[in-house]
Every structure is written in structure tokens, then in C-alpha cells.
């Protein structure tokens, strides 16, 4: 228990980094995932193929590999650098990039499942009043699809939040998991520290599950 109290501030500071990462990744992955889903349901074969390839590659690659690729491949080898002065800032954004790219594939697939719950007639009615394809997706199909998959999207976000504990693979070594390992190097393995971190994640993740469950019932589209 003493270790937890002693190292609490550092661990907490690490945890806030996980939270900051989570917020940014949630934003980017929802945006990119939505665009991918629009590509995958579009009538244009090239867009569909590009979307499908992206999703299949990203969804089937281990996350640590995606992050390592961003760190060693994109940044070290290909020279994608977000900050030349502060290496941690660079790896922070590489982690955001890698995890957003990865999570977007899951967002896309959740949303596509939602699109399948929207009856054909909705798209036909949208086209019949003169909406273009992208207007009907944006104004008619996706709003209904989102409502149908709020709970699964919640699960995707929850998985993403937990996944932020592997960002060390992108060189970002100050998140709570990295701080924990460092602490264990000096204190030895500490059960209270484990439990403390688990509780911190539960405190964030459980309400998200509850809230998305509630929201999905509240916003359900009556047919």
C-alpha cells in the first residue's frame, strides 16, 4: 500500500497521458472511421476497394506492430517527425497516429454493421427527393446507422482506451503502464499498484459502457 501512495502522483500523471491520448484517438478514429465506412458503402468501386483494403490490413495487424511501424518505419526511416526538439512529443503524436489508424478500422466496421440495419427504402427515399449519394449518407443513412451501433462503438472506444497502455511501442514511454514498469524496477512488483491502476481504468471505462448503453436506448430509431 505504501508504494501506491508514494508513487501515486507519478502514476496518476502517467494515467492522465492515457486519458489525453484516448480523447485525441477517439476524435480522429471516429472521423476517419466514418469516412472509411462511407467509402465502403459508396457506389464507386475504387473507393470501396481502398476502404476494404485499409480495413483488412489495419484490423488484422497487431497493434504493437502498427505502433512500431509508426515509430521505426514512418518516423525513423521515412522521416515523419512531429517534433524535432522533444522526442516524447514526437512519439506522442506517432502513438495518436498509429492508434487512430488502427481504431478507425474498427469504427468503420461497427458503423457498417449499423448501415446494414437501415432499410433499403430509406436510401431510396433519400435519392428519390434528389439528395446526392454523399448527402443521403450524411443526412439519412449514417445518422440512423450511428444510433443503431452506439453500444458497439462504446465497446470499440473502451478497447481503445485500454490499448493506450501499449503506446510504449511507439516510443511514448511515460504513460501509466510505462510508469508502472519503471516503478516495479525499484520497488519490485506491487499488487496495490496493479489494483490502483485497474481501478483507475474501471472508473473511466465503466461509465462509458453505462452511458453508451443508456444513449443507445434513448436514441434508438423507432420503425
Amino acid at each position: 500500500m505504501d508504494e501506491l501512495i508514494e508513487y501515486g502522483p507519478e502514476l496518476f500523471s502517467g494515467f492522465t497521458k492515457n486519458l489525453l491520448l484516448s480523447v485525441l484517438i477517439a476524435f480522429f478514429s471516429l472521423a476517419v472511421g466514418t469516412i472509411l465506412a462511407a467509402m465502403r458503402v459508396s457506389p464507386t468501386p475504387v473507393l470501396r476497394a481502398a476502404g476494404t483494403t485499409y480495413v483488412n490490413v489495419l484490423r488484422n495487424t497487431p497493434l504493437t506492430l502498427v505502433l512500431a511501424f509508426c515509430y521505426l518505419g514512418l518516423s525513423d526511416t521515412l522521416g515523419l517527425i512531429f517534433s524535432t526538439e522533444v522526442p516524447l512529443t514526437n512519439s506522442f503524436w506517432l502513438a495518436v497516429l498509429g492508434m487512430s489508424a488502427y481504431t478507425a478500422a474498427f469504427v468503420c466496421e461497427a458503423l457498417r454493421a449499423g448501415v446494414n440495419t437501415v432499410p433499403m427504402g430509406q436510401a431510396e427515399a433519400a435519392r428519390a427527393i434528389g439528395l446526392t449519394f454523399f448527402q443521403s449518407v450524411r443526412l439519412v443513412i449514417f445518422p440512423q446507422a450511428f444510433r443503431a451501433v452506439i453500444a458497439p462503438l462504446g465497446s470499440v472506444l473502451i478497447a481503445m482506451i485500454k490499448n493506450t497502455t501499449v503506446v510504449a511501442a511507439a516510443g511514448y514511454t511515460v504513460d501509466v503502464a510505462a510508469v508502472m514498469r519503471e516503478t516495479f524496477d525499484t520497488t519490485g512488483v506491487s499488487i496495490p499498484i496493479f489494483i490502483g491502476i485497474v481501478l483507475a481504468f474501471l472508473a473511466v471505462v465503466l461509465p462509458i459502457g453505462w452511458y453508451t448503453g443508456w444513449l443507445s436506448r434513448r436514441l434508438a430509431v423507432a420503425r
Binding site: E124, I129, G130, V221
Partner: protein, 251 residues
């Protein structure tokens, strides 16, 4: 608007053919719809009536032949096609109101997003149209809260909000409980009286007799017979039509 229009028909189908895979669903269809005309399409199930209707706003593409709308061949895709569709209203058998939008929003979506009309003007017009179809009191409800007959009347208001040159109706009353059929037909009869050009797939003989200028009998992908409603119902020329009429008249 139609000062010089009487001569040229609004819709012209010329040698239209359509296949679903190996199935030949429209066989060399030649048909015109004049401005202000109300055309009823009738015929056995699977005869191609819905497909015919849907080719006119290109919800279905055709494999062969030509469709001329208001003097121009149907655009193939993109903005031009969207514009054409905004000029051709469509009322579906299953209503297809936008389930996540209120009744009022269902009617204003097209005018604000396709026609870029100001929200105030679109709202005002939507209320007038909802008044006309008798649903104004329900404007803030959602489609699932309305009866089928009410939903279909909203669907008609949604089509009217685009000021279409024509409205296509694909069996607008066949998904309705019997007691709601008349309220929808009454709205349609009103439209016909006001001079709207309409193509109506329906088996409602009462509507055909009261509102239609012409009946087209379709079977097996072909136009088998065309006549005035009175002539068609009392004095069908072909065996195919006689046989069909004897079936719908006896049940």
C-alpha cells in the same frame, strides 16, 4: 409554365428493355405520359409495374432504349441525376419516411438540402402541405408514431414539397389497413384534380375510374393493353386482361 408544353409529352419511353440477370422484366416498352395526365398501371404481380415506375427516376437503370423526361434524356449519374430526381416525386408502398426525422423535417429536408431553400420558408411551406394532407397537428411527431395512412399522406407532402413536375406512386395503398385506404386516395384524387402529372401503380379501381385518364395493363414485362378506365374495366380487349380483371373483381 406549360404554355407550350401541351404538344410535347412529359415522359417518353422508347423501346425500353430491362433485365435482372437472365430475367427480361421490361420488354420493348413504348409509353408516353402527357403533362397533367394521370396514368394508372395495373397488372399481375411480377409483371414489371414497379420496375417501370422506378426507371423513370432512374432508381432502376435500363439496358436498352431511351427515356426522355421533359425533353431531355435521363441523366446517367451525379448532380444532373439528383436534379432530375428532385423534379420527379416518388411515393412508395412502404412509405419510407426518414425514421430519425420529425414529420416536419421529413418534408423540409429536400427543400433545404437539395433546393437550398431558407429554413423559415421551407417550414412555412411544409406546414401548408401538411395542412393540405391533413397532418399539420402531427408535425412534431416521428413517423413511427403515425398510422400507415397518415405516414403515406406525409410521404405525399414530402414529394409535393419539391414542386415536382410529376409524381410516381408505387402501390401507395397496398400496405395500408382497409380503413386507411380512402384517406390516401382522397389526397391523390385532389392532386389529380389540381393537374398534377401522375403515374400510379394501383389495383384501386375506384381511384382509376375517378381520377385516371388512361389505364395501362402490364403483364410479363409488356404493355398488353392501354385504354380509358371505363373502357378497360367494362370492355377489356385481351384475354390476359379479362382473366386478370375477373380475378381482382371476384375477391
Amino acid at each position: 409554365m406549360t404554355d407550350n408544353g401541351d404538344a410535347a409529352p412529359l415522359v417518353q419511353l422508347e423501346h425500353v428493355n430491362k433485365y435482372f440477370g437472365a430475367l427480361h422484366v421490361l420488354k420493348d416498352i413504348n409509353l408516353t405520359v402527357s403533362r397533367g395526365e394521370v396514368l394508372v398501371v395495373i397488372g399481375p404481380s411480377g409483371g414489371g409495374k414497379s420496375t417501370l415506375c422506378r426507371t423513370i427516376n432512374r432508381l432502376e437503370t435500363i439496358d436498352d432504349g431511351a427515356i426522355i423526361f421533359d425533353g431531355e434524356p435521363l441523366p446517367e449519374e451525379g448532380r444532373a441525376l439528383a436534379r432530375l430526381r428532385s423534379e420527379v416525386g416518388m411515393v412508395f408502398q412502404s412509405f419510407n419516411l426518414f425514421a430519425h426525422k420529425s414529420i416536419r423535417e421529413n418534408v423540409t429536408l429536400g427543400p433545404t438540402k437539395v433546393r437550398r431553400k431558407a429554413r423559415d420558408a421551407a417550414d412555412k411551406r411544409a406546414m401548408e402541405l401538411l395542412e393540405r394532407v391533413g397532418i399539420a397537428a402531427q408535425a412534431d411527431k416521428y413517423p413511427a408514431q403515425l398510422s400507415g395512412g397518415q405516414q403515406q399522406r406525409v410521404a405525399i407532402a414530402r414529394a409535393l414539397a419539391m414542386d415536382p413536375k410529376m409524381i410516381l406512386f408505387d402501390e401507395p395503398t397496398s400496405a395500408l389497413d382497409p380503413e386507411m385506404v380512402q384517406e390516401v386516395l382522397d389526397v391523390m384524387i385532389g392532386l389529380a384534380r389540381d393537374g398534377m402529372t401522375m403515374m400510379v401503380v394501383t389495383h384501386e379501381m375506384g381511384f382509376a375510374r375517378r381520377a385516371a385518364n388512361r389505364v395501362v395493363f402490364m403483364a410479363d414485362g409488356q404493355v398488353v393493353e392501354e385504354n380509358t378506365p371505363d373502357e378497360f374495366f367494362t370492355n377489356a380487349q385481351t384475354d390476359r386482361a379479362k382473366d386478370f380483371l375477373s380475378k381482382i373483381l371476384t375477391h
